[in-house]
């Protein structure tokens, strides 16, 4: 291709390019980040405002920060605010102008080449000369840049002063402790006589073992669980003669046969909704032996749990079954025998 043609082509290209309309580098929106987004009122802000620019800047270009007019800036001076751009070798320095009258800080940069759009500009406040407003609200920091060629960046971020972006929630969970003496099937309250729950052993004979049952039903949301204790007013007595008690303590007494005098309870501890239950020392070891239930001093711990319990409407699992048991011999005095067992239930919240 000869020089003339080359020149013609070059001229054509030049003409084509010349008549193409040339548009500006457009302005760009950028995310702005505050080093500390939540502040108390009237508190010094010694942190940063940063953004990754979308527009390259050259020497003489400006970065302007607009801080909230409600902030206290009476002591804000030149040395309190700096602009850096770590990681961008083209950024050299910046000349700072603080204008408290317009609530702006303007940085005029010096760059050896156009700054990149990958490393952030970081504006740092120091010396406690910019204080948040004394009125709690959500305040805006805005940033603009001007590349001196009609383009630049813009963005804004909120600073939340005085917890004005927070909602505190409160709620109460009341302590729960309930206790009922229920029938064996836990489908009704235990029968009463004259307002007192009753457990009727019936007529005792030398040839039978007499029993009666009821359930102790405790509900609680105590994380420490509950304790059932008892105390009796007397032995099982006819007024002058006391039935022979089963033993208290670890092993209790083996269940007596009909024809041998013995009175006590067979305790089935049950389970607990959360955690487990344990037997008191007077009823400790076995689930098949008989234990004394006539102590008149106390209270005496019968059952305790280590977690909350929420038995259902009919619940033979998370309840304690108490079976009173009596046998007599031919020497057992006649009469009407009775005693009253009083239960107390406690929980720690």
């Amino acid at each position: 291709m000869n020089l003339k043609k080359l020149l013609s082509i070059g001229l054509c290209i030049f003409v084509i390019v010349s008549i193409l309309p040339i548009s500006f580098v457009r302005a760009a929106g950028v995310p702005v980040t505050l080093g500390t987004a939540s502040m108390a009122i009237s508190t010094a802000y010694n942190s940063t405002v940063s953004f990754v620019p979308g527009t390259a800047l050259t020497t003489g270009a400006t970065v302007t920060l607009y801080y909230p007019s409600a902030y206290t800036d009476t002591s804000l001076v030149l040395g309190d605010v700096t602009l850096t751009k770590t990681g961008d070798a083209n950024f050299t320095s910046a000349v700072t102008v603080v204008s408290t009258g317009s609530d702006t800080v303007t940085f005029t940069i010096t760059a050896s080449a156009p700054t990149n759009t990958s490393n952030a500009f970081i504006i740092t406040f120091a010396n406690s000369h910019l204080l948040t407003s004394g009125t709690g609200a959500n305040y805006t920091f805005a940033v603009t840049t001007d590349n001196l060629a009609g383009g630049g960046d813009y963005g804004a971020a909120l600073q939340y002063v005085g917890n004005t972006n927070q909602v505190k929630v409160t709620a109460i969970v009341k302590p729960i402790l309930t206790f009922a003496i229920r029938n064996t099937a836990d489908n009704a309250e235990q029968a009463t006589v004259s307002g007192l729950k009753t457990c009727a052993l019936g007529v005792l004979t030398t040839t039978t073992v007499s029993t009666c049952d009821y359930r102790l039903k405790v509900g609680t949301n105590s994380v420490s669980g509950y304790t059932i204790s008892y105390i009796s007013d007397t032995n099982l007595t006819n007024g002058t003669y006391n039935m022979t008690n089963a033993a208290a303590g670890s092993n209790g007494s083996s269940p007596a046969s009909a024809g041998t005098e013995q009175y006590g309870v067979l305790l089935t501890a049950g389970s607990n909704t959360v955690g487990s239950v344990s037997r008191g020392t007077d009823f400790l070891t076995t689930t098949t032996n008989i234990y004394q239930i006539t102590k008149t001093s106390g209270p005496n711990t019968m059952i305790s749990s280590n977690g909350p319990n929420a038995p259902s409407g009919t619940d033979t699992t998370n309840t304690t079954l108490v079976q009173h048991r009596a046998t007599i011999d031919s020497a057992t005095r006649t009469g009407n025998y009775n005693h009253t067992v009083s239960y107390t239930v406690s929980a720690t919240f």
Partner: protein
């Protein structure tokens, strides 16, 4: 005799000359009056008034007015007006009248949303402005160009031309930098991609025909009007706004600290925050692409010490239907569905509530977690969007007693 005849000839000659002079004085268009005509603002120097044909001669595209003064290439000019004679000056367009303003005029929030009230620093457009022209007598098919530069550019050294197709600033003239008055004025905004918080000045000129083959560089069109008067206006600052109110409705303002008291929780029913304690979150921005509202929680639920009522349930699922005896705590929209076109802003704005929280009218709550979760987002700027939320909780019979608390934190980010 000879002298008499000579005198007679001379006399007739003089008469003839005088008569001729008088004749040409009367009919000669080029004769110049010696008297200057003045008004308080204009002056006609040595004007001549002649018949000049019909008072108005026109075609579909041109008008020819009666001439006043000599047909001359010189013009009488001021900064904005010129008075010239001759055909050239009679087909020159009239300088348009120009008004530059924030888009939306008296309420720029209608176009660009914004924070605060009309006139506040971040209320209105931060990157676009609107220019409105009046033709001042030009034909309807006259074409206009608008020049723009920063107000600090005293001599229009860095002026650019508005491209009415792309609505950005071009370095040179083209067919796209000319448009009819109707086209220009119909634009919601005239020019974008401007710098925020910057004062710009505009001027316009009109032409009759845009010669698309030649765009004079530094020169003018033969029918180009003088420049309009300059009009100056500023872009706004970028801004975002967040306000929270704890109230019975969205119109009752309240101040921090904000507290919602659920009271005593129940194992047999869902507890909802009191009707007077709805959480109303009000957001605004002039960001072109709207904003994102996020929420996070201090503890993943209601807590007292080591005790926790998990959100949305004890397994920290994203949602939980508390009506089914599930133990949990969370948040649900109170004001119903996605909210469209709330507040003032461009048409087509929508607010999208996260599906976790958008179960209005149910006991299905969304999770509140220590990790930041998007609660809602918008796609365009607006002056105000409000969404209201309730808190709901339910416990079990075994939920440990105590005074439970939680702190919900809202954050807002604009998409500029």
């Amino acid at each position: 005799m000879h002298q008499y005849m000579l005198g007679k000839v001379i006399y007739k000659t003089i008469i003839l000359i005088v008569f001729s002079l008088i004749f040409f004085l009367v009919i000669d268009r080029n004769l110049v009056s010696a008297q200057t005509l003045t008004s308080p603002t204009y002056q006609l120097i040595d004007p001549s008034i002649n018949s000049g044909g019909n008072a108005l001669q026109s075609t579909a595209s041109f008008k020819l007015f009666e001439t006043i003064g000599d047909v001359d290439a010189a013009n009488f000019t001021s900064a904005t007006y010129s008075l010239g004679g001759g055909l050239n000056n009679n087909i020159v367009m009239t300088a348009p009248q120009i008004t530059a303003a924030q888009p939306g005029g008296a309420d720029p929030g209608t176009v660009c949303g914004g924070v605060g009230n009309i006139g506040d620093p971040a209320y209105g457009c931060y990157d676009k402005l609107k220019v409105t022209l009046a033709s001042d007598g030009n034909p309807t098919d006259a074409l206009y160009a608008i020049e723009v530069t920063e107000a600090s550019d005293t001599n229009w050294t860095n002026k650019k031309y508005i491209n009415f197709s792309t609505q950005v600033r071009d370095a040179s003239l083209s067919t796209n930098t000319f448009a009819t008055l109707a086209t220009i004025n119909a634009l919601t905004y005239t020019v974008g991609s401007l710098n925020a918080n910057t004062s710009y000045k505009f001027r316009s000129f009109a032409i009759q025909i845009a010669n698309s083959a030649v765009f004079p560089s530094g020169g003018t069109y033969f029918d180009q009007s003088p420049y309009s008067a300059t009009s100056t206006v500023s872009t706004k600052l970028p801004g975002i706004g967040l306000d929270i109110d704890i109230a019975a409705n969205s119109t009752t303002p309240t101040s921090a600290p904000y507290t919602v008291s659920l009271g005593a929780l129940s194992s047999s029913a869902v507890t909802t925050s009191p009707s007077a304690q709805g959480i109303y979150v009000k957001i605004s921005t002039n960001a072109n692409s709207g904003l994102t509202l996020s929420v996070n929680d201090s503890s993943n639920g209601l807590v007292e010490g080591a005790k926790i009522i998990g959100s949305a349930d004890s397994s920290f699922n994203n949602t939980a239907d508390l009506s089914t005896s599930i133990v949990g705590f969370g948040k649900v929209l109170r004001t119903g569905g996605n909210i469209t076109n709330q507040g003032v802003g461009p048409a087509g704005i929508t607010q999208t509530i996260s599906s976790n929280y958008n179960n209005f009218g149910t006991d299905t709550v969304g999770k509140l977690a220590t990790g930041i979760v998007t609660l809602a987002s918008t796609n365009k700027p607006n002056t105000l969007i409000v969404s209201g939320y309730d808190l709901k909780a339910r416990i079990a019979s075994t939920t440990p007693s105590g005074s439970y608390t939680d702190t919900i934190t809202y954050t807002l980010a604009g998409s500029f």
